[in-house]
Symmetry: C2
Subunit: 420 residues, 2 copies
C-alpha cells in the first residue's frame, strides 16, 4: 500500500533541495520578513489551527491517549501566541551565514576564507508536540535551511494547519513554500523511507523518547544528531560548600524533573557523607523525592530504598534520585563514564584543583562546577534558542543553536596558482 | 562461521574506549614521544614489515591483482621511510585539544568555556594502501583519538606488521597498545559488525572507491564522514584571462589525473568559446587528454568525441575531460549543482563581481577563483596533513586535519547558580 511514497518523497526531496538553494542565497533581512509574516499568519489562522487541533484531540481521546499526551497535544490560544512569539524571537538572533570564520594566506599567495553556510535540508522527527513544527522550521529557516518535518501521527491535523500558516507567510514574501515541508504520511514506512533520502536531506534531528531516537539511528543513512537520554550527575566533593550543594541538588532534581538536564544521580564523597547525606535527604523529602541508595547511603538514610544496578543508568524523569557514596573522585568519574549519558554532569567543590581535574576527566557535553545541570539549554547558554541538545561527538555537542545549524565552505582566491 | 566476532569485537571496542580515555588526558609532549617511537619502530622493524608485505604481494599475484593494485600494495624501503617521516611530521603539528575556543559570561555570572576535546574512537576503513595504517593512526593519535582500523584483505599481513611496530612504540611509552587496533578479519561480515558498534566507535572515515564508501554508509549506524567522488569543474568565464585559464586547466587535469581534486569538466562561456576552445584543445592534446564535448564544443573542436549524459557526472580519474559551452554563468552554476560532487570547483575570471557571485552560488566544499582545484589538500591548505576530504555538510567539509578530528565540550564555572 505504500508503493507511491517513493515517487512523492522524491518530488518532495527535490523541491526541498531547490528551496534550500534559494534560501541559502537569501539575506537575513528577507529571512526575518518571512519569519515575521509566518508569526502573523499563525495568529491570523488561529481559529483554523485550533479547529484542526480539536480534531486531533478528539481522535486522541478515542485512541485513549493519556492526559499528559493530550496536554502536550493541545494548542491553546496562549500556546499559539507563544509559537508566534518564538518566530519573532528568532528574527532578533544573529544570522551566522556568510560570516568569515577565518582567513589565511598561503606562501604561494592563495587566500583561503572559511565561510559559514547553511547545512541545506534538515529533517526533524518529533512526537506529539505540534509547537515543534513552528519552532524547528523557524530556527532552521534563519540558519538558511529548508526543513523536512515528520511529526507524530496524533498531531497531523494540527501540524498541517500550522504548516499552512507558515506557507502563507513564505509565499507572501515570494519565497517557495517548500522551505517548510511536512511529511503527510504518519506510518512507520514513510519515516523509514524518509531516512534513506540522503540525496535530499543532509541532517536528521530526532526529538522525542529514547525508543524513537534509537529507531531513527538504526534506519537512517542520513547523519543524525541526537541525545538518547540525560542521566545527569552531581558530585558532592569532600571540599563542597554544603549549602551550595543542597541548593544545586534541589534545583537540578526538583525544579523540573521531567527534562533531560535534570539530575538523576548524586554522588557523595565518603568523608563528608555522614554529615551531608541526612541533610540532603531531609531537603529532598520535603520536595517529595524518593531516594534509591547504595548500601552505604541506605545506612545513613533509613528512608532510602536500595538501588539496583539498573538504577544507575535510569533516567527517572520524575521525583526519584539515586545516590551513591564514593571513596575518591576517580570513583565518581568512573561511575559517570560508565553509567552516565555524557549530557550534563556537575561537581560541587571549593577546591579549584579538584574542579579542574573533574572538568578535564568527565567526558560529557557540558561539565559544571558549582552550578545546576539545568542550565544546559540554548537560551541559558545565550544562544537565544535551541533546536535540541546533542550528546554526539561530531558536528555539535550540548545545546544546538543557529550556529550549530550551519556548515562552512572554503573560498579560495588566487591569481593563477597551480600545484607543482 | 562468524559468530565469534561479536564477542571479540565487543572486547576490542571496550579496549578502544578505555585506551581513548587515557589518550584524551595525555599531554601533547607525551603524544609526540609516542609518535616519535612509532616512527622509529617502523624503521627498526622494516625487515619484518617487508617480509609480511612480500607475503601479501605473493597472495595478490596469485589472486591476479592488477599491476596498479600491486603497486599500491608494495612497501618499498622508501615508502616505509615515508610512513615514518609522516609520523614525525605529525609531532610538529599543533595539538588542538584543550584549546579554549571561546569564553563568555552569562548575566547570572556563569562562565562558559568551549574547549576542544578528542572525538574518541575513530574507525578507518580503507583499501589496499598499507601506508594508510600508520598515517591515519598517527594523525588520530595526535588529536587524542584511538583508531579502529579495517584495511583491505590484500594488505592484512603488511597492516598487521605495521601495527605491531606502532604497538611497540606505544608500549615503550607506557601507553596502551589498544590506542591502535586493527580488525583481524577481512571479510564483509566483520566490517558490517564493526559498523554497528556505535557504543564504541564515534566516527567512521572510509577511504577508497565510491562503491566501498556507499556500502559503509548503507550499513553504518555510526556517523560517517566521506566523499564519494570528485567531479570537479572549471568555469572559464567571459572575462577570463585565457593564459591563466589554460595553465589552471592543464594543472587541474593533467598534473595528477587519478586524484579526487583533479578536474573532470570544463565549462566555457559562449562569448569566448570560439577563441578559447581550440587553444585549450591544442594544449590538452599535447598532454594526451581525450575530449568529450557537447554539440557546440564538438563543432569548434573536431577531434572531440560527443559526450553523453553520463559523462557529466563521471569521475574519469584519467586523461579524459568533458567540456560544455554555457550561455550564462547561471547555466554553469546549475550544471555544477546538478552533476558535480560538491568537492572542488573553480572559476577563471578577472571580474570581481562574477567571482563573488560564483563563490556564493556554488555550493561546494571548496570554491576557487583563478586557481587550480588541485589545492584541495590538507598540506596545501596549511593543515600539515589530512585524514581525508569531506563533501558532507556536517562536522567537517573539505580537507580534514587535526582540528577536524576533534570535538568540543562546554565547561561551565559557577558559584552556586541555580535555574529559576
Amino acid at each position: 500500500m505504500c508503493t507511491n511514497y517513493s515517487r512523492e518523497l522524491h518530488k518532495m526531496g527535490m523541491a526541498a533541495r531547490t528551496a534550500a538553494r534559494k534560501l541559502a542565497l537569501t539575506k537575513a533581512t528577507h529571512k526575518n520578513r518571512c519569519l515575521e509574516a509566518m508569526a502573523e499568519q499563525l495568529l491570523e489562522q488561529q481559529d483554523k489551527i485550533q479547529d484542526a487541533n480539536q480534531e486531533d484531540l478528539e481522535n486522541g481521546k478515542e485512541k485513549g491517549l493519556s492526559n499528559a499526551m493530550l496536554d502536550r497535544l493541545t494548542l491553546s490560544k496562549e500556546r499559539i501566541e507563544k509559537m508566534a512569539k518564538g518566530l519573532r524571537t528568532v528574527t532578533g538572533l544573529e544570522d551566522p551565514c556568510g560570516r568569515v570564520e577565518s582567513t589565511w594566506i598561503r606562501p604561494n599567495g592563495l587566500k583561503i576564507n572559511k565561510v559559514r553556510v547553511p547545512i541545506g535540508v534538515v529533517g526533524i522527527i518529533y512526537e506529539a508536540r505540534p509547537n515543534v513544527t513552528a519552532d524547528a522550521a523557524g530556527l532552521c529557516l534563519k540558519a538558511g535551511n529548508a526543513t523536512f518535518l515528520r511529526g507524530g501521527s496524533e498531531a497531523i491535523n494540527s501540524n498541517q494547519a500550522i504548516v499552512n500558516a507558515l506557507h502563507k507567510g513564505l509565499e507572501d514574501n515570494d519565497m517557495p513554500k517548500e522551505i517548510v515541508q511536512l511529511l503527510p504520511w504518519t506510518d512507520r514506512e514513510a519515516v523509514n523511507q524518509m531516512l534513506t533520502m540522503d540525496e535530499y536531506i543532509d541532517l536528521i534531528i530526532p526529538r522525542g523518547g529514547e525508543e524513537l531516537i534509537r529507531k531513527v539511528v538504526q534506519n537512517s543513512s542520513i547523519p543524525v544528531i541526537k541525545h538518547y537520554k540525560g542521566v545527569c550527575h552531581i558530585l558532592v566533593d569532600k571540599d563542597a560548600d554544603g549549602e551550595k550543594a543542597l541548593k544545586i541538588i534541589e534545583n537540578a532534581k526538583c525544579q523540573r524533573p521531567g527534562v533531560c538536564n535534570a539530575a538523576e544521580t548524586v554522588l557523595i564523597h565518603r568523608s563528608i557523607a555522614e554529615e551531608f547525606a541526612p541533610k540532603m535527604a531531609e531537603m529532598l523529602q520535603k520536595n517529595n523525592v524518593s531516594l534509591r541508595g547504595d548500601d552505604e547511603f541506605c545506612k545513613l538514610v533509613k528512608t532510602a530504598e536500595k538501588a539496583d544496578e539498573k538504577d544507575w543508568s535510569t533516567e527517572y524523569l520524575d521525583l526519584t534520585l539515586s545516590v551513591k557514596i564514593v571513596e575518591h573522585i576517580d570513583d565518581a568519574i568512573e561511575h559517570i563514564g560508565k553509567y552516565g549519558s555524557a549530557h550534563s554532569d556537575a561537581i560541587v567543590t571549593e577546591n579549584r584543583n579538584t574542579a579542574t581535574y573533574f572538568t578535564e576527566c568527565v567526558d560529557s557535553a557540558t561539565v559544571y562546577v558549582n552550578a545546576s545541570t539545568r542550565f544546559t539549554d540554548g537560551g541559558e547558554f545565550g544562544m537565544g534558542a535551541e533546536i535540541g541538545v546533542s550528546t554526539d561527538r561530531i558536528h555539535a555537542r550540548g545545546p544546538m543553536g543557529l550556529e550549530e545549524l550551519t556548515s562552512y565552505k572554503y573560498i579560495i582566491m588566487g591569481n593563477g596558482q597551480v600545484r607543482t
